[in-house]
């Protein structure tokens, strides 16, 4: 199975997780990472049936992370994962625990995703490819665990995001592994210890994040996330999961055409 992973700095954890031993357990699975730091990865355009960088900086990052490719050809892969590209997910989960009206919550959720770079990248892919597309949000910010975690609000947020947003783009938002969540809306602090910067070919490559950094996760988290995703993608592929292929842009004019 050939898998394409497109994302920002958060894919560093996935790559390190893959290299930490996961690759040995997934023979026959080939992962290619396309990454750039911050919002740079959203600086993409569609060109000649491929996804091309808008700037030389992004091109250099794509080459450094993918092993030499500065263009992304979605059709060359069996599955595509778009990962990271959003922030402050904790606050979205916390919204659901506050007595807001359903209308206000739904609007806040839509605005959150419309304002994220995830939809920009999905939109670019959907101009070329209508096959399986998986989405992983940036991890919940890390915190110290306080007792048993009730993850129902997080699960509800993922479910409603799929219903309201990602289903319209024939994409599926995957949750982070439930065992990594604490306090219902945070990632266990142990998964952020030792997180490193995404290697894009400069002097910050693989450097440790500062001590107070709690948004990026480490290789252990990456391995857990990636394994959960690979199982899902392999299972979908085995059963020939039917995605609503075709003109996703037509199906989701308000969501995708904003990008």
């Amino acid at each position: 199975m050939k898998v394409c992973i497109i994302g920002n700095s958060h894919i560093a954890a996935l790559k390190l997780g893959w290299q930490s031993g996961l690759a040995n357990r997934w023979h026959g699975t080939d992962l290619t990472f396309y990454g750039a730091r911050g919002g740079d990865i959203a600086e993409l355009l569609v060109q000649d049936g491929q996804i091309a960088p808008k700037t030389e900086t992004v091109a250099a990052s794509l080459r450094a992370t993918s092993g030499g490719h500065s263009m992304i050809d979605p059709l060359a892969y069996d599955a595509i994962l778009v990962y990271g590209l959003c922030r402050d997910l904790n606050r979205q989960v916390q919204n659901l625990g506050t007595p807001y009206s359903a209308a206000a919550l739904e609007l806040a959720q839509l605005e959150y995703w419309i304002g994220s770079n995830l939809l920009k990248v999905i939109s670019a892919i959907r101009e070329i490819d209508s096959r399986p597309l998986y989405v992983g949000a940036a991890p919940l910010e890390a915190a110290v665990a306080r007792g048993i975690s009730d993850n129902r609000l997080y699960a509800e947020f993922i479910r409603t995001s799929n219903d309201r947003v990602f289903a319209l783009a024939d994409a599926i938002l995957l949750p982070q592994p439930m065992q990594t969540i604490v306090n219902g809306d945070a990632t266990d602090l142990r998964f952020s210890i030792g997180s490193t910067r995404l290697a894009v070919g400069d002097s910050f490559d693989d450097k440790r994040h500062p001590g107070e950094e709690n948004r990026h996760m480490n290789a252990e988290f990456g391995a857990l996330w990636l394994e959960q995703f690979l199982k899902r993608a392999a299972s979908d592929r085995a059963v020939g999961a039917k995605y609503k292929t075709g003109a996703a842009r037509k199906a989701a004019p308000e969501i995708l055409q904003n990008h």
Binding site: Q92, T98, Y100, S101, A102, A104, L107, A108, E111
Partner: protein, 364 residues
């Protein structure tokens, strides 16, 4: 002999005015000055430093006060923030970030008293809920949910949350700014409650057997204001209260008077009560935004062409006087780091329930 006269005699003056400062005389203090040179318009009783927690409630004009505090990096207390993700204009449409909690406009002193009674658990609101098709509206906050609530339960849950947030804002605040807006009010004679706006305008159905109009007089405005202040001070004995009066004229009157005359009547009562209460209570002050904006000396230059809306220039001028007077009385305050940017708007158009009266006034 009165003390002033005694003092004058002691100083061997012809009359007591001779010892008055320049600001006491119209010609040098107003007549010969340009707008930008008017000074000493207000002498604050207490400091409102950048780190003072300030809650704001009241009529539409109170929204300007909160925004001005944010723009100056002061600590505007917002105990009921909007859901994360909403754009500022969406949050405002849902009644968030307008006042320190999601009360909607509190136009009258008696409505403020009602909010205090309900929020502090001294009284409970009735079961009344308004319905239009399959959506539900809060009679006491009819405009905070643009399309109405999905169910009575949702309405009641959000209202209970606002009570808690209102209470929290009073308990946490160092200063609460309350802008008095109206004396005209609508109530329900069956349950004895007051609505912020006449039923049948923004929501609900007008029922002449239940819904009654009242124009509060000086003593009832004063009585309910003192009661509200008392309730808030019980919850927070250190709370200072800054009263202002909205300079925005009435959109419409339910009295038989011309709306201009009704406006002057109403504002005069509010101004008199606010000034009197501020003179009587050491923890209550009056900031003369109404006086500044409405003064004939300023030739109404602070109003928009509709002669009702206050211009951004007027708000800026008034708030410059506010912060200037604070600095003159208590010294310049230390610069604060920028506050929450998502609440900051360069120019706000206040959300004003009362304006709906114009829309529902039978083509007037």
């Amino acid at each position: 002999m009165k003390p002033q006269a005694q003092a004058a005699k002691k100083q061997n003056l012809m009359n007591p005015y001779q010892s008055q400062p320049v600001k006491a005389f119209w010609k040098p203090a107003v007549g010969e000055r340009s707008l930008s040179n008017l000074s000493e318009l207000w002498g604050p009783k207490f400091a409102i430093a950048p780190d003072s927690k300030v809650a704001t409630y009241g009529s539409c004009f109170a929204q300007h006060f909160g925004q001005a505090l944010i723009r100056r990096n002061h600590h505007w207390l917002n105990t009921e923030p909007a859901p994360a993700g909403l754009k500022p204009e969406q949050a405002r449409a849902f009644g968030y970030n307008l006042f320190s909690s999601r009360t909607g406009n509190i136009y009258t002193t008696s409505l403020m008293q009602q909010w205090c009674l309900w929020s502090f658990g001294i009284a409970a609101p009735p079961d009344e809920i308004w319905q239009r098709d399959d959506r539900f509206f809060d009679p006491y906050r009819p405009m905070i949910e643009p399309e109405g609530f999905a169910s009575p339960d949702e309405l009641l849950a959000t209202r209970a949350h606002t009570f808690a947030c209102f209470r929290s804002s009073v308990e946490q605040a160092n200063c609460l700014v309350f802008t008095l807006g109206l004396t005209e009010r609508w109530g329900n004679i069956l349950n004895g409650t007051e609505y912020p706006i006449c039923p049948g305008t923004t929501a609900g159905t007008f029922n002449q057997d239940q819904h009654v109009f009242d124009n509060m007089d000086y003593s009832s405005v004063r009585e309910s204001l003192l009661a509200a202040i008392g309730l808030m001070r019980d919850a927070n004995p250190g709370l200072n209260i800054l009263l202002t009066v909205s300079p925005v004229p009435l959109t419409a009157t339910a009295t038989k008077q011309h709306v201009l005359i009704a406006t002057m009547h109403s504002k005069s009562i509010l101004r008199a009560v606010a000034g009197q209460v501020a003179m009587e209570l050491p923890y209550v002050d009056y900031f003369p935004s109404y006086d500044i904006i409405s003064s004939p000396a300023l030739k109404s230059s602070f109003f928009a062409p509709n002669k009702r809306d206050v211009t951004g220039q007027a708000v800026g001028y008034v708030m410059d006087r506010f912060f200037g007077a604070q600095a003159e009385s208590f010294g310049p305050f230390k610069e604060q780091p920028p506050a929450d940017h998502h609440l900051r708007q360069s120019q706000i158009d206040p959300v004003c329930d009362e304006e709906m009266l114009a829309a529902f006034g039978a083509d007037r």
